[in-house]
């Protein structure tokens, strides 16, 4: 079971997990990313832009890689675009497997890789009316790179805990 989508509308994590389960499995791991208010407040919304066509290809490739690396029965990546307010869903990544470690590792892989290898850009729309583009985080590049250090392994990279 494979489901990859870029969409404006919200997703239903429970329904997506139910679809993964219906493919027959032992366990499902998921990660849901949510628009976070800034530490000092003042964020009205994020605006998410992407490269149509390339994005879908990039996400399908991440799903291919996860399926090659772990024994999965299913794999889901949903990324929203458009205007999203604090508390709203941005991204959902999930994987199912007979082995819980595979499901958890594949989910962590999908979200780490997506951060640096899928063409999305976020702008912050502030309550003040100002808008600025979010800068890429070095920690995200490091999280992506940590997986290549274990290129032929199925382990979770060390250092995951704080990225």
């Amino acid at each position: 079971m494979r489901l990859v989508a870029v969409q404006e509308q919200d997703f239903d994590a429970g329904a997506l997990l139910a679809r993964l389960n219906s493919a027959g499995t032992g366990g499902m791991a998921s990660f849901t990313g949510i628009v976070r208010q800034l530490p000092g407040g003042g964020l009205r919304a994020l605006r998410l832009e992407h490269y149509p066509g390339m994005t879908e290809k990039a996400l399908e490739r991440l799903a291919d890689e996860a399926e090659a690396r772990w024994e999965l029965t299913g794999c889901v990546i949903i990324h929203r675009v458009g205007r999203l307010e604090p508390g709203q869903n941005i991204v959902f990544a999930a994987a199912s497997s007979a082995h819980r470690g595979d499901a958890l590792a594949a989910t962590a892989y999908l979200i780490d890789q997506l951060k640096t290898r899928a063409p999305f850009w976020k702008a912050e729309e502030m309550e003040s009316g100002a808008t600025h583009w979010v800068e890429a985080r070095e920690a995200d590049d490091e999280a992506t790179a940590a997986w290549s250090e274990t290129a032929n392994a199925t382990n979770l990279p060390r250092g995951q805990g704080r990225l």
Partner: protein, 83 residues
């Protein structure tokens, strides 16, 4: 070829895509940037610093010094910030 601009590159250039035929000798994305920079102040501002500029040739990420070839499309954008 079709050239696409995203995020603040799109905003500074004032369009999201255009069809252009760069002259022979423009054989890398970096050379294409140099050629685009001369097309007007928006381009000059967007490409004033190449360091934060990334590109994709036919929807595959490529370094700025990759061979350009004869792509159908090339996209320019800042480092990605999805997820």
């Amino acid at each position: 070829m079709r050239i696409l601009y995203f995020a603040w590159l799109r905003e500074r250039i004032g369009k999201s895509s255009e069809e252009l035929e760069p002259p022979p000798g423009v054989d890398t994305p970096r050379a294409l940037i140099n050629w685009l920079r001369a097309r007007g102040p928006g381009y000059a501002e967007a490409f004033s610093d190449e360091k934060p500029v990334r590109c994709a040739i036919d929807q595959e990420f490529q370094p700025l010094d990759a061979p350009l070839g004869t792509p159908k499309e090339i996209g320019f954008f800042p480092p990605v910030t999805g997820g």
